[in-house]
Symmetry: none
Subunit: 219 residues, 4 copies
DNA sequence: TATGAATGAGGTTTCATTCAT
DNA sequence: CATGAATGAAACCTCATTCAT
C-alpha cells in the first residue's frame, strides 16, 4: 500500500518477468504517485524499471506518452466496470448502489493511478487533456443516467440536481487517494459500502414529516 | 472566473496599487492554478506581477515559499470561518449546515487557491507538507466534532462513521475546483445549499419503514 | 585561534566598542579566512559586524575594497617590523635571525590575515593585485638584502642564490596558515626560533670536510 | 608556461584528440590556475574545452567534482613518486635528497595544479576537504619518516623537530607556484637541486665548533 | 532492438551594488 | 550617516530528447 504523507515507498526491484512496456508503466505509476510527474526524471523512471532510456523511447514517444498510457488504463478499466453495473438487471437503486460501491473498491485497489489521475492532468499535452476530459465526461454521464432514471421512477428525490449528487460523489471517491492509507483500516469493500450507502441516503426522498434542512446558522 | 479546461485565462495587468508581496501572491495564485506550479517559471511569475526576480527573492526565500504562503492563506481563512460556525448558537444540525454551506461558498470564491491546494501539495518541501497536513487535519477534526455531537444527541445516524461522512464531504468540496466553471451556472451559495442539504440528508437517521439500502447488484 | 580544517569558528557577537570600519575589518578578516572571500556574502559580512549594508558602502566602495584594506594592513605591519630588525645594530647573521623569527611570530599572531593574503590575491582587481605584488616584492628585497650582506661578509654560503633561500623561507612562513593550529602546540615564538634556526643553518657555509650533498638516489 | 602576475594566458584551442573528460580536466586546470575556481564559470570552462555544458555534467556531477578530480590527480601522482624514492636503496640522506628534489621538479612541471591545490582547497565540499587533507597528511608522514630515520642513524640533527623541517620544506615547495615563472630562469631540476641542498644543509648536524645561532637581535 | 553519450534550452537562485528616503 | 527595498546580470545545474553505433 502506498502512503499519503508525501514520503516515498522504498524502491522495489523491477519485476523482470514483465515485458518492458509493463515494467515501465508499473514504475511510472509508482513514481508519479509518490513524487509527482514533474519530480520524476526519465532517468529515475528507467532505472526503477530496470530499462535503458533508449528502450523507453522505443516504446513511448515521450514522458507525456507514458503518463497518458496510465490515464488510458484507468479510463478503460473504470468505464468497463461501470458498464457492467449499469447494464445489469435491477432497480436504479440497486444498480446505482452496485456501481457506486464498485468504483470505490477499484479506486482503493488502484490508489496510485487515481492519485495521478487528478493531480497530473494539467501535465498532459493540451490535446490529451481534452481527450481525457471527454472520456471522463462520458463516464460521468453514464453514471448520472442511472440517477436520472431513479428520479423518473420516483425512487430518488428530485429536488437536488442529479449532476450535483454525482459530482459530489466522484469528488469524494477521488479524494480517497488523499486520505486512504490501507493499513489497519477499513477495506476497500467496506469503504465502498459506506460510501454507496451515504449516496443512496442522500438521494432518498424525505419521508413525510421528516426533518427539514435548516437555514444557515450564521449570517 | 477561471476555466477548468486546462486553457489559460488571458494575462491581466498587474495591479500596481498593491504592495510587491501581494502582487506576487496574486499572480502566483492565478498562474499556479492555470498551468500548475511546476509549469510556471519564476520568470513568468515576476513578469505577471510586474516585479523583478530580485524583488521576489527579497520577500520570498524560494518559489516553494511562495507556494506555501498560498497554503497558509487558505488554511487560515478556512479555519477562521469554520470556527465562526462551529462556535455559533444552535443545534448541531444547524451549525453543521452553516459550516458545510459556507465552505462551499468560500471554496467557489477562491477556486484558484483550492485547485492549487490539492494539486500541488507534493511540490512543497517535506517539512511544509507535514505542516500543511497537520493544520488540515485539525480543521477536519473540528468539523467532525460537530457531527459527533449530533450523533450523541441522536440528530444524526450513528451507523456510518463520522469520519467517512466528513471525508466524503470534503472530497466533494475539493473536487469543485475540477468542475465548477462559474459562468452561467449555479452561484456558490446555491451549490453550497445543495451540498449541505445532501450532507444532512445522508446523516439523517432513516425513518422507521424507510427504504433499506440494497445489497450489491452485481457479483 | 582559528582552525585549519575548513570548518568554521562559531560566530562571535560584534564588538560594539569598535568603530564601524574596524568592526567590518574584523568580521571580514574572520569570515574571509574561514570560508573564503567568494563564499562570504556582503550580507553575512555586515550581519557579522552588526552593521547595515548601507553603512558598509559608506566606508568601503566595494567588497573588493574591504579585501584590499586587509592586504594593506598586513603589508604595512610586516614592512614596519622588518625595518626595525633590518636597521638594528648587529651582524647580518643576528639581524636576519631577528627578522626571520619575528615574521613567523607575527604571522602566527595574524593567521587569518596570512591565510587571506595568499589565498585571495587573485580576487582583487587587477590594479590592486599589481600594487600588492609590488609592495610584497619590496618587502622581499629588503629581506634579501640582509642575506646578500652576509654573503659579502662571508658569513653565509654563496653557492645557493640568495633569492632561492629567501623565497624558500617565505614559502614556509606563508604555509604556516595551512597547518598551524595554535592550541596545544608550539608557541609562535618557538616556531619562529626553529624556523630562523633552520634558515641560518641552511645558509651557514659547510665546514671543511663536511658532508657533501648526494646526487639523486633514483634515476 | 604560466604567468604568476594574475594576468591570463591566451586561450588555446581545445585538443580534439582527447576524450571529453580529459579535455575538461585540461581546460579546468588552466582556467582554475589563471583566474581561480570561483572566477571561472562553467560556461567558460566548457567553451574552453570545446564541449557543451550537458556533456560536462554527464561526466562530472558538479563543478566541485571537476575540482576534486584535479586534487586526486595531484595526490596520486605525488604519492606514487614519493614511494619510488622512499623505497629506493641508499642512506636516508640520499633518499631524502632524491625525493626532495623530485617533488620540486614535478611541482614546477605542474604549476597549474599546485597553484590550484593550495588556493582552492576551501572551495571543495566539506567531505572532500577532509579526504584531501587526509591523503595529504599521509604523504607528509611518508616524507617525514625518512627524516626520522636519518635522525636515528645520526645523519640528521635531532635538535629541530622533524615535523618542523618537513613542513617548512613543503611550504617552500608549495610557494613555488607563487613566484616561479619558468621562462628564462632556472629549470625545475635546478631549483630542485638548490631546494634539496638547502634542506639537507639545514638538517646536517653542526660541526663541533660551528657557529651558534644567535639570539634575537631586537627586543 | 537497444545503448548511453551528447545536446542545449531553460530552470531556480544568488548577490554585489544602487538609490530614494 | 544610515537604511533596506529593488535591481538585473550571471551563476550552477537539470533534463527530456536525439542519434550514431
Amino acid at each position: 500500500m502506498q502512503n499519503t504523507d508525501g514520503s516515498e515507498r522504498p524502491a522495489t526491484a523491477p519485476d523482470r518477468s514483465l515485458a518492458v512496456p509493463d515494467r515501465l508503466l508499473s514504475a511510472a505509476s509508482r513514481l508519479f504517485a509518490d513524487r509527482g510527474f514533474e519530480r520524476t526524471s526519465v532517468q529515475e523512471l528507467v532505472s526503477a524499471a530496470g530499462v535503458t532510456k533508449g528502450a523507453m523511447y522505443h516504446y513511448f514517444t515521450s514522458k507525456d506518452d507514458l503518463l497518458y498510457a496510465i490515464y488510458q488504463r484507468v479510463l478503460t478499466m473504470q468505464m468497463e466496470r461501470l458498464n457492467r453495473f449499469a447494464g445489469a438487471r435491477g432497480t436504479p437503486r440497486e444498480r446505482l448502489y452496485g456501481a457506486a460501491a464498485d468504483v470505490v473498491h477499484t479506486t482503493v485497489d488502484n490508489l496510485d493511478d487515481t492519485r495521478i489521475f487528478f493531480r497530473s492532468l494539467h501535465m498532459l499535452s493540451d490535446d490529451r487533456q481534452t481527450a481525457v476530459r471527454k472520456e471522463r465526461r462520458q463516464y460521468h454521464e453514464r453514471f448520472r443516467a442511472i440517477v436520472e432514471e431513479g428520479r423518473r421512477s420516483g425512487e430518488f428525490r428530485a429536488d437536488v440536481p442529479a449532476d450535483i449528487a454525482v459530482t459530489q460523489y466522484f469528488g469524494a471517491v477521488h479524494h480517497l487517494s488523499t486520505w486512504y492509507h490501507g493499513a489497519g483500516e477499513l477495506t476497500g469493500a467496506q469503504v465502498g459500502a459506506y460510501f454507496a450507502d451515504l449516496l443512496l441516503s442522500g438521494l432518498t426522498p424525505d419521508e413525510p414529516g421528516g426533518a427539514d434542512p435548516p437555514g444557515p446558522a450564521v449570517q
